[in-house]
């Protein structure tokens, strides 16, 4: 752990966003994770993404469970809302918060242990309920915080630093989420911010439940040559199925990828995803196709990344539950107890 405060000096040409903030204004306290942990790169990618989108810090709430991964909300968006909950229970907190105030951006941060082991039930239900949020799993195939036990996402045959080999097939969170009806599903790698940043932006802008499963190596306990979630294996076996650029509402595009765009997807808030096919034949608009591709790559020991599945037209929880547009936490006594006349009208309908 570093003991000094990160110097406040920054690059003099550091860009300011529409709100006049530099990227450094979206940082949090100095990380206490192991140096080289993929989770820190996810923090950095979130900072990049939110800064570029010009979101005001108070527009966003960070929610997390327990684990090294769940600690990272401390290290970014210091001035946003946040709740660090108990192990595997982030989905309940996120659901409650989203019910209370539907106007915030919700960013869930979890680990593979937090999501695929103790929190698997909660995870399935939040996907199914289509809570409008971006749920990021910092997936390292291990329980980092408790010193490196194999997790449920560890690939069959993968080995941790202590030599323990995974004897069970893994839970693939991407396939599970697609299967359960998530409307935005992506996979990425902490080492590839060019891919991760626009995915985070698209996931935050997407209305409905968005999942990004980010391979995020645990440099201390699960980064041997035989660790499927290590840096080496991920660099070598990463197959990009689709590349995207994200264009926030009313913004000119600055393309990250040079290849021409093949398809435009307009999201509910007016922002646009430019989709570049990579010759993989992958169509993120097709659910069966997405499941098939993810599985085929898995069989070959490859990791399919990119935007895997999107359905921008699916209704979210609030639409399904037919809630009022005004956030619950702003409903006042008059809204909730409209008086005898309204009651009489309602009673009338039962007559």
């Amino acid at each position: 752990m570093s003991y000094i405060v990160k110097p406040k000096f920054h690059h003099p040409q550091l860009q300011k966003n529409d709100l006049g903030y530099t990227r450094r204004d979206y940082e949090g306290t100095l990380t206490t994770l192991c140096g080289g942990c993929g989770h820190d790169s996810i923090s950095a990618a979130i900072i990049h993404a939110v800064h570029e989108m010009s979101l005001a810090p108070h527009q966003l709430a960070k929610v997390s469970g327990i684990g090294c991964s769940s600690k990272i909300p401390s290290y970014f968006l210091e001035r946003s809302h946040g709740f660090n909950s108990v192990h595997g229970r982030m989905p309940s907190i996120a659901t409650g918060a989203n019910l209370a105030n539907r106007e915030l951006y919700y960013l869930g941060i979890s680990g593979d242990g937090d999501t695929a082991s103790i929190g698997l039930g909660q995870f399935c239900h939040i996907v199914r309920r289509r809570i409008n949020m971006l749920y990021i799993v910092a997936n390292n195939g291990t329980y980092g915080l408790t010193k490196g036990q194999l997790s449920a996402t560890a690939d069959l045959g993968s080995k941790t630093k202590s030599g323990e080999e995974s004897r069970y097939d893994n839970i693939d969170l991407v396939s599970l989420a697609i299967d359960l009806g998530a409307s935005f599903v992506a996979r990425s790698f902490s080492g590839d911010k060019e891919q991760l940043v626009p995915l985070i932006q698209a996931g935050l802008s997407h209305r409905g439940f968005a999942l990004i499963d980010v391979i995020s190596p645990c440099v201390t306990f699960n980064n041997t040559p035989l660790s499927a979630h290590g840096y080496k294996n991920t660099w070598e076996n990463n197959v990009v199925l689709s590349e995207i650029d994200f264009v926030p509402m009313r913004k000119e595009i600055t393309a990250r990828y040079s290849a021409g765009k093949d398809k435009e997807i307009t999201l509910h808030d007016g922002s646009v995803i430019h989709l570049h096919k990579t010759g993989s034949g992958h169509d993120p608009g097709n659910r069966e196709n997405a499941l098939l591709h993810v599985n085929e790559h898995k069989k070959q020991g490859k990791i399919a990344t990119g935007l895997l599945y999107i359905n921008q037209d699916q209704s979210d929880f609030h639409e399904l539950a037919d809630t009022v547009n005004k956030p619950f936490n702003r409903l006042n006594e008059h809204d909730l107890c409209p008086g005898g006349e309204v009651l009489a009208d309602i009673n009338e309908t039962f007559m």
């Binding site: 570093s2 990160k6 406040k8 080289g36 950095a44 080496k232």
Partner: protein, 591 residues
């Protein structure tokens, strides 16, 4: 780009911006850290070895290091490098036992130094410990050159000057002061093994305008007048004074006048305020003493009353640029400006002159009357004759004179040893890891965010009444310490080991100034634009690694690195390490 060759001694030296910019390459951050540790004497000795006159320079140096200082690129003001040098000098203890020993048995070589300014005394300092006999000639009665005769005492107290001159003179210099050398031929005939010419740039200029002949008794050459003030031949001036010129000499002239009876002292400059040659802090000090500076006024004539100077007439001009971008001064057509005055001080430049060097000795001069020299060895076209300081390349400053002195002393030593003066020893460098623990370094990487501290001044009422009272009081120990904490330790280098890197991005994510990028290799110009934050300062290098596992390279923009060590703290494989680069210029003693 090709991988950076960090074994090139210039590579890391350039990263230490202040040291690179210092003509004598003083190891600045090293002495600043010693001051922070209250090791003033050690800090002083590091300076003394590099620049011979730390107490003098800590008050008067032109400080080319400060505009170069990295701190000035990440915030408004550089570190007060120069005034910290003074802290070392002010708070040191006795250094006599640390001075180099001088052998009793001489090596049989005898060198003549003409002039006893900083250039010559540096040659003496470098050669005496090697057993040389040194004879120094100066036409003045005391040593110091322009440091004694030009720099006023309110900027440089005589005790400080003499203390540091004496460290050299007491090493056993054969002093021939009050002796003007009038013939190089005769000097060479005395059989010296080498002659070093450190005679400065002694010729001041006056301005010959209509009325000059009659007004002459009240028109003074700035540098001659200052020398007369220094030797107390002059102790007063008229009530109304005009100083012509915009350089440091003009600033010393006007401030001295203020102290010798000048009530209404004005500086008049032909060109604009921003074009003035004087150092910004000298201009500021003059203005603080209520001396107005009038710009864009071209002197036209001396005005006379009863055959005596009574004023000057100036033409008002404005600035324009011609098609070639050359600056022109165009008359505005306004009424001429008339200023009354009792005395005029001309501080409009200095020239070199060598009337005493016969032109048939094989010592060639160029068309500006400057000697033809090798810029590294300072050897003239005569094998045994060397030049340094203002005499070599024209008027400059003390630290440049010192740097020339070191180089010339090395050349003289090589010549006397029968070696090739061009075959110079390598500079002395070391690169050593500063790692003490996982996140602990042997330097303090927790730098301060404070803005530059201001050096306190003595009260104006006091200093304006006595030319010998020093204006600046210097930092006290607490202020000095606080200022040291602003230094970024640019000599503690980030050293990268390609084969250790696992490309985890930890260093990229932590770097406060976005120095580090992992990307595809490319041509430098294009690569500079592709970095996380564009690297637009071409004077600063890009540190490029070998090809990494993913086929990318690591490219680090040295321009804004804070040397905070966070990349090395976050790196899981110690692919980054913080290593201190000590650089010392090779001197005669190292040959």
């Amino acid at each position: 780009m090709k991988p950076t060759d960090i074994s090139d001694p210039d590579y890391f030296h350039k990263v230490v911006d202040c040291q690179w910019a210092c003509p004598a390459h003083t190891p600045v951050p090293e002495y600043i850290r010693l001051i922070a540790g209250k090791r003033y004497t050690d800090a002083y000795m590091i300076n003394w070895e590099s620049n011979v006159f730390p107490g003098i320079l800590g008050r008067t140096c032109d400080r080319p290091c400060e505009p170069a200082c990295r701190r000035g690129r990440v915030e408004e003001q550089p570190v007060a490098i120069c005034r910290l040098k003074r802290v070392a000098a002010d708070y040191k203890s006795d250094i006599k036992d640390r001075l180099p020993g001088v052998p009793k048995r001489k090596n049989g070589r005898h060198i003549a130094l003409v002039g006893a300014g900083p250039a010559s005394l540096t040659v003496a300092r470098d050669l005496l410990p090697l057993g040389y006999e040194i004879t120094v000639f100066d036409r003045d009665a005391a040593a110091g050159g322009a440091m004694r005769t030009q720099i006023p005492r309110f900027r440089l107290p005589v005790e400080v000057l003499e203390e540091e001159l004496n460290y050299v003179l007491h090493m056993g210099v054969d002093r021939r002061f009050g002796t003007e050398i009038t013939s190089m031929k005769e000097l060479l005939a005395e059989g010296f093994d080498a002659v070093f010419v450190g005679t400065g740039a002694p010729l001041g200029k006056t301005l010959d305008l209509p009325g000059f002949a009659e007004a002459k008794p009240n028109i003074h050459t700035g540098i001659e007048w200052l020398a007369n003030v220094a030797f107390e031949h002059i102790d007063s001036i008229g009530e109304t004074v005009i100083v012509l010129g915009g350089g440091n000499t003009a600033m010393d002239c006007c401030r001295s006048s203020k102290r010798l009876g000048g009530e209404d002292v004005k500086v008049v400059v032909r060109s604009g305020f921003d074009e003035m040659k004087a150092s910004p802090w000298e201009i500021e000090d003059a203005m603080n003493e209520d001396i107005p500076i009038l710009n864009f006024c071209v002197p036209k004539r001396y005005l006379l009353k009863d055959g005596k100077l009574c004023g000057m007439e100036f033409e008002k001009v404005r600035r324009e640029y011609d098609g070639n971008g050359r600056r022109l001064l165009i008359p505005t057509g306004e009424e001429p400006l008339v200023l009354p005055c009792d005395d005029v001080l001309c501080a409009i430049g200095q020239d070199n002159a060598f009337p005493w060097i016969e032109r048939d000795l094989g010592i060639e001069f160029d068309r500006w009357e400057l000697p033809v020299l090798d810029k590294t060895t300072f050897q003239s076209t005569h094998e045994k004759v060397f030049f340094g300081g203002d005499a070599a390349l024209g008027p400059d400053n003390i630290i440049t004179a010192v740097a020339h002195g070191h180089a010339a002393a090395l050349s003289i030593h090589l010549l006397c040893e029968g070696r090739d003066v061009k075959d110079r020893p390598a500079d002395l460098t070391t690169l050593a890891s500063q790692k003490m623990g996982i996140h602990q370094w042997s330097y303090d990487n927790d730098i301060s965010n404070d803005v530059r501290y201001i050096v306190p001044h003595a009260a104006k009422e006091k200093t304006l009444n006595d030319i010998n009272i020093e204006v600046e009081l210097g930092f006290d120990e607490d202020l000095g310490y606080a200022e040291t904490q602003r230094c970024l330790n640019c000599d503690v280098q980030t050293v990268f080991t390609t084969r250790s890197c696992i490309e985890c991005d930890a260093c990229v994510d932590i770097c406060p100034t976005d120095c580090i990028t992992f990307t595809a290799n490319g041509e430098e110009g294009e690569l500079r634009q592709r970095l996380l934050a564009p690297a637009e300062n071409e004077e600063q290098d890009i540190y490029v690694s070998d090809t990494l596992g993913t086929g990318r390279i690591m490219a680090k923009n040295e321009d804004l690195c804070l040397h905070c060590g966070l990349c090395a703290e976050r790196c899981p494989t110690a692919a980054w390490d913080m290593q201190k680069y000590l650089f010392n210029t090779a001197k005669a003693v190292n040959a």
